[in-house]
């Protein structure tokens, strides 16, 4: 089996590719794949205890796509175990039996009418341009199952718009509803607590970002945004709630998620600062609100970075401003 390939002309997640990836980036990925294979030949057996410093460094240098389900599971399990010890009342649960039920007898799940309606409405509005998210496709149906079981397991959250996109990317990556359900629980309960309830604590994250942008280091970014009349909230709420889905091209998005599962929520804020910094010339090109928003909605216009360069860029930003979260 050849990893890191996808249907002809599509990117690694099966989307229309938004940019060309240069030869050296591809060569780098191939090299990393070899290194992983040599060093961790049986990653599927890896357990919590294998989370050593070299392993973490390996992750930050780039994860071969076919290993992502395992690597994400391992990264998230460290946070999940800690969480489950503290929250015995609403733990992260294995939902395989419930997923079976959702497939065979959906009425067995207890989900309130509004939540069900909202899920039903959002399924066709998740990735309408993607072949596997057409009504009747396997992944499409599994998206519904995952979201319904989540709502059944965690009625205090139920379903929040944006979770459909997260579950969608998880399904396209893991190709497995069970793994998707458990990672979705990790994101919503552990990594991003109270971000998907009416508390909308994502506002706190936006404030941190605003504070960072007010420091002298980001004066160039701040002035580019101010000149165009763009407020941080205009784009940051969506970036954060969607973990950059829809804003970053698949290759970079997945690298960001590798680091997010590894290091936690602060990665999102650091990435936001790094990406703003990287795009500042583009933002400045025209101090016009539409132009600036177009750039920020589609961050794939700059060159593709190797995972290593992307991770390095992220670690260079937010120091001292972005607290250690999660």
């Amino acid at each position: 089996m050849c990893a890191d390939t996808s249907p002809a002309g599509k990117d690694v997640l099966g989307f229309e590719p938004s940019r060309h990836i240069s030869g050296d980036v591809i060569a780098n990925l191939a090299r990393r794949r070899m290194r992983w294979h040599r060093k961790y030949p049986r990653i599927e057996d890896a357990q919590h205890k294998s989370f050593t410093r070299p392993f973490k460094r390996f992750i930050s240098k780039g994860v071969p796509h076919h290993l992502r389900p395992n690597v994400w599971r391992l990264s998230a399990s460290r946070f999940a175990q800690k969480y489950n010890r503290k929250h015995e009342d609403v733990p992260i649960l294995n939902g395989s039996a419930l997923l079976q039920q959702a497939r065979s007898n959906p009425h067995a799940l207890t989900i309130d009418e509004d939540t069900l309606m909202q899920i039903k409405m959002d399924m066709p509005r998740t990735f309408p341009e993607h072949a596997e998210f057409k009504e009747g496709a396997h992944i499409y149906e599994e998206l519904g199952h995952v979201l319904r079981v989540f709502a059944h397991l965690h009625p205090h959250i139920g379903y929040c718009q944006a979770m459909n996109f997260l579950a969608g990317v998880l399904l396209l990556t893991t190709r497995d509803a069970e793994a998707t359900l458990s990672l979705l629980q990790c994101i919503v309960l552990v990594y991003m607590p109270d971000r998907y309830t009416s508390e909308m604590k994502v506002q706190d994250d936006v404030k941190i970002l605003q504070r960072a942008l007010n420091t002298p280091r980001y004066a160039h970014v701040r002035s580019a945004l101010e000149d165009a009349g763009v407020d941080v909230t205009f784009f940051a709420v969506k970036w954060l709630l969607m973990l950059f889905v829809d804003a970053l091209p698949s290759d970079q998005l997945l690298v960001l998620w590798d680091l997010f599962f590894l290091w936690g929520r602060r990665v999102l804020l650091q990435a936001a600062l790094f990406l703003l910094h990287e795009h500042v010339e583009d933002l400045r090109a025209r101090p016009d609100v539409n132009h600036v928003m177009d750039v920020l909605k589609d961050l794939g216009r700059t060159r593709a970075l190797t995972p290593q360069a992307f991770a390095h860029g992220i670690t260079q930003h937010g120091g001292g401003v972005v607290p250690k979260l999660v």
């Binding site: 909202q118 409405m121 959002d122 509005r125 998740t126 990735f127 309408p128 341009e129 929040c160 718009q161 944006a162 459909n164 996109f165 998907y196 309830t197 009416s198 508390e199 909308m200 994502v202 506002q203 936006v206 407020d231 909230t233 205009f234 709420v237 969506k238 709630l241 969607m242 829809d246 609100v289 539409n290 928003m293």
Partner: protein, 206 residues
Amino acid sequence: MATRKKVLLKVIILGDSGVGKTSLMNQYVNRKFSNQYKATIGADFLTKEVTVDDRLVTMQIWDTAGQERFQSLGVAFYRGADCCVLVFDVTVPRSFESLEAWRDEFLIQASPRDPEHFPFVVLGNKVDLKDNRAITENRAKSWCDEKGNIPYFETSAKEATKVETAFLTIARAALQQEKDEDIYHDFKDAVNLDDVPDKKQDGCGC
């Protein structure tokens, strides 16, 4: 005001999830309809330059997330709005019943200076789905009348029915609101002008 500065009108579109807010905005701004819109997260906007009664204005039209829990983010997006558009789906009674809550929530979060006279426009969307219609024109109109004669339009973003007309009314209402705000601010500035030099003189005394 003697100078004619460039006018930016901020319009907020509110309403339940799936009533067609994104479609209405895109039909008006881009004259396009698609069955393939993604659910809106947070908020998004498009701008359009239009001439309203011989004046060139830029409309900044804000499309918001319809799920209730996103309302707490409203403050950030509603600030400085000149007109609020409330949308319901004529085939979904619940979306009509929600109008009141959307209106109240907007007034609380945007806290306009004169809430009694803040301009709203109501759109009953998806009138192309004639067979599934659940809210009659009369019922919608009488609600709008009750709430202080809110202009009401029956639209179809899909077939571009009444979209242009509705947004012209929206633009006019927003422009009027903007003028009223300007007069208020000019007045405030005039008052401030008297205060500021005094302070400065104090500062320069030493």
